[in-house]
Symmetry: C2
Subunit: 505 residues, 2 copies
């Protein structure tokens, strides 16, 4: 047993549970995006009474929200960084209603902003100006579930956690797990190609989505809702909509391949000396844990300092330069334990891991995960500002970007720290500032994106481009690829009414 090999006999975590404070009570809402960012309103028509009249005739009064206080939560993003000024939220219940809304908006040249659970962190899901918000929150029916094949079909507005609860009762699992699971919608997950913790094990949305129903800008309902694991008939159109952030169509139904739910789960928390050993431990974990390795997360000591300071949680194993969180998920408790023992023994013998602890009870697993999952909660109360970068890099360069940014920032920031999904090459690089300043932001961007591009990485690993990174797309994407994207957009949405100012500037 690992606990015999290292100093820590059991999980000892000083966790203060979720602070339970509404972030919007702590931080003031941001100024309107149109005032903060340099962006011009597109040549769209403005909402008129006759438009509202049509929407009310289609949806009834209750599903056309225009009260200013109700509108606010749809206009402001999750990170409180952007704020639109839409005056109407529409809440269709089915694809036909979405189709009619879009057909009408297309004819009237009214811009729209599709919105799921509004948990996007790059400003993809809120309007920039006065776009009409189309919310999927009432489109939350589970349509079918095939217990033989594990294929689930549902409407786009189903909340991820609700789907997982539904599947748990039948012995299945959603192949996607992200921090926002309690409120994000599956349609939004598809539209942003959400990544998260389990990607290492189950792959991304392109591998798990079997079919989609999508409404195009002109209102055409495109039926790619195949519920088959294999269907090689013609172009695989559904992939166009996965990750296109609502700019090519609105996803209305999703068919998903769901794996069997693992019955045994463990999480190990390890302390390591340097990043070279982190990489070697990762390779060893892949060999020794094999098919049960389900997540491998890394964080540096500076991240742990931030966690201690802001979230009052601390490492359960004392202080080390790097920490790994390794999750296993399998079908046989004893086998998994044996595999973990073998891995721990070898990692200690080889001098890769300095200390560690493992949890197999659900509440202890949650406690360990909460260290990692609560990091962003700390941003709310840190007084200044945290510049947040979701990037991916080849593993050789994975941590190099953090070291480089520390040198680049010097004394001008509180700290630079990095944590992320090591198994997927995805690092979340954070720069904590005493207080936000445009000058400091300009010191960081576009420098950081240039460096990421030079290191053969991606400026957006899993969060997308949205509004916040749209101005950098030209910089990082090959021209041939960008031209084709623009051609696609023109083909699918000639008037550009779908989620304007997002992805492309």
């Amino acid at each position: 047993m690992f606990s015999k090999l290292c100093n820590t006999q059991q999980v000892r975590i000083c966790v203060r549970k979720s602070l339970g404070v509404n972030r919007r009570n702590i931080r003031t809402k941001p100024d309107f995006t149109k005032n903060t960012f340099q962006v011009s309103r597109g040549d769209y028509n403005h909402l008129l009474d006759e438009h509202v009249k049509y929407f009310r005739s289609l949806l009834g009064d209750n599903r056309v929200v225009m009260d200013l206080s109700d509108l606010e939560k749809y206009n402001v993003d999750w990170f409180l960084q952007v704020r639109g000024c839409s005056s109407v939220v529409l809440k269709p219940k089915n694809s036909e209603e979405v189709s009619r809304i879009l057909s009408f908006c297309n004819k009237e040249r009214l811009a729209v902003c599709p919105q799921g659970g509004n948990t996007n962190v790059v400003g993809a899901a809120v309007p920039v100006f006065d776009e009409i918000i189309i919310s999927t929150e009432l489109m939350n029916d589970i349509i079918s579930m095939d217990d033989n094949s594990g294929i689930l079909t549902c409407q786009a507005g189903c909340i991820l956690e609700n789907l997982d609860d539904f599947l748990a009762k039948r012995g299945f699992i959603v192949p996607l797990d992200i921090g926002a699971k309690g409120s994000c919608h599956i349609g939004g997950n598809v539209s942003t190609n959400a990544g998260g913790m389990r990607l290492l094990r189950y792959g991304n949305m392109h591998g798990n989505v079997l079919g989609l129903e999508v409404v195009k800008a002109d209102g055409t309902i495109v039926d790619c809702l195949s519920s088959l694991k294999k269907d090689n008939t013609g172009y695989h159109l559904k992939h166009l909509f996965i990750g296109s952030e609502g700019t090519l169509g609105i996803v209305t139904k999703v068919s998903l391949q769901c794996p069997s739910r693992p019955t045994s789960r463990n999480v190990a928390f390890l302390g390591l000396q340097n990043f070279e050993k982190v990489l070697k431990t990762f390779r060893l974990a892949k060999v020794k844990l094999g098919e049960i390795l389900s997540a491998i997360e890394v964080m540096d000591d500076t991240t742990m300092d931030f966690i201690k300071e802001r979230n009052h949680q601390c490492s359960p194993i004392g202080d080390y330069p790097f920490y790994l969180m390794i999750e296993t998920a399998g079908s046989n408790e004893r086998h998994d334990e044996e595999k973990l023992d073998g891995f721990f023994e070898e990692s200690m013998q080889k001098g890769l891991v300095l200390n560690g602890t493992v949890a197999s009870e659900p509440n202890k697993i949650e406690s360990i995960w909460s260290i990692r999952e609560n990091i962003t909660n700390g941003y709310k109360s840190c007084g200044g500002a945290v510049l947040y970068y979701d990037i991916s890099l080849p593993l050789d360069n994975y941590y190099r970007i953090v070291d480089e940014m520390r040198i680049h920032m010097g004394q001008s920031c509180v700290r630079v720290f990095g944590y992320g999904h090591l198994g997927d090459g995805n690092i979340h690089l954070q720069i904590q500032l005493k207080e936000y300043s445009d000058e400091l932001k300009r010191h960081v961007e576009p420098y950081i994106y240039e460096r990421i591009t030079a290191l053969k990485g991606s400026i957006s690993a899993e969060h997308g481009i949205g509004f916040m990174k749209a101005k950098y797309l030209d910089m990082v994407k090959p021209k041939s690829s960008l031209n084709l994207m623009r051609e696609m957009k023109r083909l699918m949405d000639p008037q550009g009414i779908l989620n304007p100012y997002k992805v492309f500037q």
Copy 2:
């Protein structure tokens, strides 16, 4: 141990190894497609001396093949069902040469047919008329391999088995395994979204391809060759080319996520009473074998009759109405054995499985797999003809199509049999005829496609549309989806020079 529970103590297979007979010596080559099928040549220019002169100036004499005897193997498909009459094969070595060829052909309105290993079974990889064949066979460099992440980048003409051999030495595996692995090219696998045996475990090409370089019809090299597991910057264009059968662009480079190579492998061969028990055993296998389940194949007794008669192989466990082949692939031999024991015990106790045997030694595993893999070899020598349908269906309807076809065919055929990748809902339905007749074919098609569509299945699970099924695409695909496909084709290849007569009629 399973062997204690059932009648068979060890593998006893009367295998006659691969017959080693060149199928083209047995069966005569088919008549030209233009004579056999109703299809009109498109409005393309004919090859002129000046065109050949340009190609020779670009590639040299050796890589412009025009000798009639050399041309034949590029003009006839693997199943000897279609035959083009191209008079030139071009063999570029890199993307720039492909780009120049396409740019020239596009200007000169010359139709082209991209070809990899020419193992396609729906006539996607050979010309229909005189299209210029662009072969990827000299584009076979491995560009890079990252041993930390398991990410391989290579040219499109690499043979699948060569890639797997290369990866085996480094502890990795290609996530794709198909019967034609000894000659198919990875670029062809991508272009046809190849499926195969391991799809249940590792997913399809959409989940495993990380990046592509593709040359468009006008010669533009589109760089989507990201070698990152996560890259959410803009539209995920690479998916457009996966499965579009060379009609939207020619794949020139591929970046692939390769999993760790399993160190323990077992194959079980089981006899079962009926299809209901087949399904129940499948569900039990998913639960009891969990993360090590890597393939689950089914075949009926009629398939076994065909195998006995044509390939002189027989069931190692005696005769049963249905057979399952279950493969496990894991990292710990003892764990896998224990999981298999648990599965066998429960499957016998529940009366699901009547008999079975398991193999763990490589040569015995190969022997069992060879029963399944050699089926199509039997077609060569069966005298008449075998109508071959690659379809997928929801599991409830999976075997129903075979029963229905038996009733529909009555005494007019030798036998109807079905086998396939049960785990993926993919069944290969075969109709063996005494001799081929157009009348019998018309009795089968389009009836079979109508039934598959009615049963919510796909008329092409993993082999694509190619030339052979192009005329049925309109019948099975929703109009909205089909319209969008045609728009894509027009956008990407306005002159329609890329692999004409394929996918669309």
